[in-house]
C-alpha cells in the first residue's frame, strides 16, 4: 500500500480517537443501539449512514453528551466520557436545524463558545475572523441569522462549531435543508474544510450519495447495529450483506442455490430452464446452500446480439428510465425475473439502441457480481 493513502484503520498501531465498547442504549423497551463496538481514528471523515430510526442520531448524541449509554463505554482519546457533561467535552456539534441563536449576530454566534472559555478579546476577534474567512462569511458578520440565506446559515453553524477547534466535530444531517445543487457544492466545501483544519468529522446522514462523497469510511447501520464499516468503494463494490447492497445504490438481487465449484468459480442454479449464473465467491459456500447474487445495473451489459460474456440471458425490454446521462433498462426474462441494466448515454437520444418490447441479451462477466449469504 502506498504511503500517502489515508487508512489508519488498517494500521494495528494507530490509536483511535473514539472507541465505542459494547455500547447499548435503551429507551424504555426500545433498543436504539445494540451492543455496538467501533473505532474511529483521528482526521477521519466518518459517516454514519442508515434509514431513520436506525440509531445513528442516538450514537451522535451520545458522543456529544446529550445521551448516556445504558451499557458499555465510549472513550474519547482513551478517556471514558460517561461522567463528562456536554459543556466539558472537546467535542462540538453542528445541528440539523443549525440551532443558530436568533438574537445574536453571525459574529456573536461564532464567538459564543469562545466567550464561554474566557478567551481574551483580541484573540477571540482574530479567531472569529479566521472562521468567517474559512466559511466565506466576512460580509455577513453583522447580520442576524434570519437576515441570511439557508446556505449561509449552514456555513455559520459550521463556523460556530469549528471555532473552538474541537478534537471531534459531529455533523447531524448538515446538508439536509439545502437544495440539491447547493448540497453538492457544500459537500466539497466540507471536505475541503475538514482537510484544512485536520479535525475528525463524524457525519450522520440518510443520504447515501452524500456519505459516499464526503467520507473516508462509511458505517451502514440498521436497527441499532453496524452492518458494515468500510471505505465507500468497498461498501459499493463488496457489500457484506443484501441489506448493504440494497441500501447503497441500485442492485439486482437474485436468489439461488450453490452448485458445483470449478476452480475459483461457483455456479448458482436459480430458475428452471435458465442457465446457471457463474460467480466468483469471496467466502466458501456449501453445495445446495442458499445464495443471494447481487449485481449492480451498470455492470450488466445489454446487447442485440448474443454476447461473449459467460453469463447471458435472453429477455425483452419492459421499461426504460431515461435520466439524461444514463438510461436504466428493465429487462424481463422469460421466467418473470427483471434485470436492471444501466448504460451511459454517450450518444444522442435519436440514435439510442433499444426501445420497448425489443428482444435483447443481458450479460455480465463472472467477476461482476457479489455472492452473499444473507
Amino acid at each position: 500500500m502506498p504511503q500517502d493513502v489515508f487508512a489508519p484503520w488498517l494500521d494495528p498501531d494507530a490509536k483511535p480517537i473514539i472507541q465505542f465498547k459494547n455500547v447499548t442504549k435503551r429507551f424504555g423497551d426500545f433498543i436504539a443501539i445494540d451492543d455496538l463496538t467501533i473505532d474511529i481514528y483521528e482526521r477521519e471523515f466518518f459517516a454514519l449512514l442508515g434509514p431513520s430510526g436506525c440509531g445513528k442520531t442516538t450514537m451522535m448524541r451520545m458522543l456529544a453528551g446529550f445521551e448516556t449509554p445504558t451499557e458499555g463505554n465510549i472513550l474519547l482519546s482513551g478517556q471514558d466520557m460517561a461522567p463528562v457533561p456536554p459543556n466539558k467535552r472537546a467535542v462540538n456539534m453542528m445541528f440539523q436545524s443549525y440551532a443558530l441563536f436568533p438574537h445574536l449576530s453571525v459574529w456573536e454566534n461564532i464567538a459564543f463558545g469562545l466567550r464561554r472559555d474566557g478567551m481574551p478579546k483580541d484573540e477571540m476577534a482574530a479567531r472569529v475572523d479566521e472562521m468567517l474567512r474559512l466559511t466565506r462569511l466576512e460580509k455577513f458578520a453583522r447580520r442576524k441569522p434570519h437576515q441570511i440565506s439557508g446556505g449561509q446559515r449552514q456555513r455559520v453553524a459550521l463556523a460556530r462549531s469549528l471555532a473552538k477547534a474541537p478534537k471531534l466535530l459531529l455533523l447531524d444531517e448538515p446538508l439536509g435543508a439545502l437544495d440539491k445543487k447547493l448540497r453538492q457544492e457544500t459537500q466539497f466545501e466540507l471536505m475541503d474544510i475538514q482537510e484544512k483544519t485536520g479535525t475528525t468529522f463524524v457525519i450522520v446522514t440518510h443520504d447515501q450519495e452524500e456519505a459516499m462523497t464526503v467520507a473516508s469510511r462509511v458505517a451502514v447501520m440498521d436497527h441499532g447495529k453496524i452492518v458494515q464499516v468500510a471505505t465507500p468503494a468497498e461498501i459499493y463494490e463488496t457489500p457484506n450483506s443484501t441489506y448493504v447492497a440494497d441500501f447503497i445504490g441500485d442492485v439486482n438481487l437474485i436468489e439461488g442455490k450453490a452448485g458445483e465449484k470449478e476452480g475459483d468459480k461457483l455456479s448458482i442454479s436459480w430458475a428452471e430452464g435458465q442457465p446457471d449464473i457463474i460467480g466468483t465467491p469471496q467466502t466458501s459456500f456449501d453445495k445446495g446452500q442458499t445464495i443471494h447474487f447481487a449485481i449492480r445495473p451498470e455492470k450488466v451489459s445489454i446487447t442485440h446480439d448474443k454476447p461473449t460474456n459467460p453469463v447471458a440471458f435472453r429477455g425483452k425490454v419492459l421499461d426504460i428510465a431515461y435520466l439524461g446521462n444514463l438510461s436504466t433498462y428493465h429487462v424481463e426474462l422469460p421466467n418473470g425475473q427483471i434485470i436492471k441494466a444501466q448504460t451511459a448515454n454517450n450518444r444522442r437520444i435519436s440514435r439510442r439502441g433499444f426501445t420497448w418490447e425489443d428482444k435483447v441479451w443481458v450479460s455480465w462477466t463472472d467477476t461482476a457480481g457479489v455472492l452473499l449469504e444473507n
Binding site: 446529550f66 463558545g113 434570519h146 437576515q147 446556505g151
Partner: protein
C-alpha cells in the same frame, strides 16, 4: 375586496356598540362639567383635578400599583418556571393532572378562589393587607403567564439550548444567555397581562384585603354604592386608558417581533435567490 353588505355592517356596528358604548358614555361623562352624572353641562377636565386632590383615591391607586407590580413580577417568575416544566419534561406520571391544575384557576369562579384564599389566610393567621392581596393575585395571574409562555416554548427549538451546552454553557447559563432572550417577548407580554389582571381585580381583592389596604377597584365599588360621581368616571377613564395601553403593548411586543423576523427572512431569501 369583499362587496359591502348591509348585514355585515349592521352586525359589526351592533357588536361593537354592545361592547364599547357603555365605556364611551363613561369616558364622555368624565369630561362633564356638571356634578350630576346624567346631565350634560359642557366640557371640563375639572374632575381629573379633583381626583388628584382626593387622598383616599390616591392611596388606593398607590396600593393597586404596588400590588400589581409585585404580584405580576412574582407570577411571571413562577408562571415561566411552570411553563418550562410543562413543555420540557415530556411525559411523567400525573402530567395531565399537573397541567390541569395549572390551568384550572383560569376557569375557577373568582368568588371561590377569593373565598378559599380568605379561609387559608385566616387559617394560618396571616393578617390581611397588601401582602395577602399580592399572594392572591400571584396565584391567579400565574396561570395566565404560564399559558402565554408555554405557547411560545412549544415552538422553541430545543436544540438551541443543546447548542449552548455544546459550546460550553452550564445549563443555567444556557437558560439566561439563550432561552430567556428568545422567549423574552412572551415573558414580557405575560407580565403585562398579569399586571392588567391585577389592576382590574375587584372580587379576589375584596376577599383578601384588610382594613389597611384598599385597591382602586374596591374604592370605586364602595363609592359608587353612595352614588356615581363624575370623579369616579374620571378615574375609570384613566384605568381604561392604562389597561388598553397594557394590552396593546403586550400584543405589539410579540407581534412586531414575529412580523419583523418574517419580513427580514423574506428579504434574505430574495437576496439569495437573486
Amino acid at each position: 375586496m369583499r362587496r359591502f353588505s348591509w348585514f355585515n355592517a349592521t352586525s359589526l356596528t351592533l357588536g361593537f356598540a354592545f361592547l364599547y358604548l357603555p365605556m364611551i358614555i363613561l369616558i364622555i361623562y368624565s369630561f362633564n362639567a356638571s356634578k350630576l352624572v346624567t346631565v350634560w353641562a359642557g366640557f371640563s377636565t375639572k374632575w381629573y383635578g379633583e381626583l388628584l386632590r382626593n387622598e383616599a383615591f390616591l392611596d388606593a391607586a398607590w396600593v393597586t400599583i404596588k400590588v400589581a407590580v409585585i404580584s405580576s413580577s412574582i407570577a411571571t417568575v413562577l408562571g415561566t418556571m411552570a411553563a418550562i416544566v410543562m413543555v420540557r419534561s415530556g411525559r411523567f406520571l400525573g402530567r395531565t393532572l399537573f397541567s390541569g391544575m395549572i390551568y384550572a384557576p383560569l376557569v375557577m369562579p373568582e368568588v371561590i378562589t377569593g373565598l378559599s384564599l380568605l379561609l387559608l389566610f385566616i387559617g394560618i393567621g396571616l393578617d390581611r393587607g397588601v401582602l395577602t392581596i399580592v399572594l392572591a393575585h400571584t396565584t391567579f395571574s400565574m396561570c395566565y403567564v404560564s399559558v402565554v409562555v408555554s405557547s411560545r416554548l412549544v415552538s422553541f427549538d430545543q436544540s438551541l439550548e443543546e447548542a449552548a451546552l455544546d459550546l460550553g454553557c452550564s445549563p443555567l447559563q444556557a437558560f439566561h444567555l439563550v432561552t430567556l432572550p428568545i422567549i423574552a417577548p412572551a415573558v414580557i407580554s405575560g407580565w403585562l397581562l398579569a399586571f392588567t389582571l391585577s389592576l382590574d381585580d375587584l372580587v379576589i381583592a375584596s376577599f383578601t384585603s384588610g382594613p389597611s389596604a384598599t385597591t382602586l377597584p374596591m374604592k370605586i365599588w364602595s363609592s359608587v354604592r353612595l352614588g356615581v360621581s363624575p370623579e369616579i368616571n374620571a378615574l375609570s377613564t384613566i384605568m381604561i386608558g392604562i389597561v388598553t395601553i397594557g394590552v396593546i403593548t403586550a400584543s405589539l411586543v410579540s407581534k412586531s417581533n414575529v412580523a419583523r423576523q418574517q419580513r427580514e427572512e423574506r428579504a434574505a431569501e430574495r437576496l439569495s435567490a437573486g
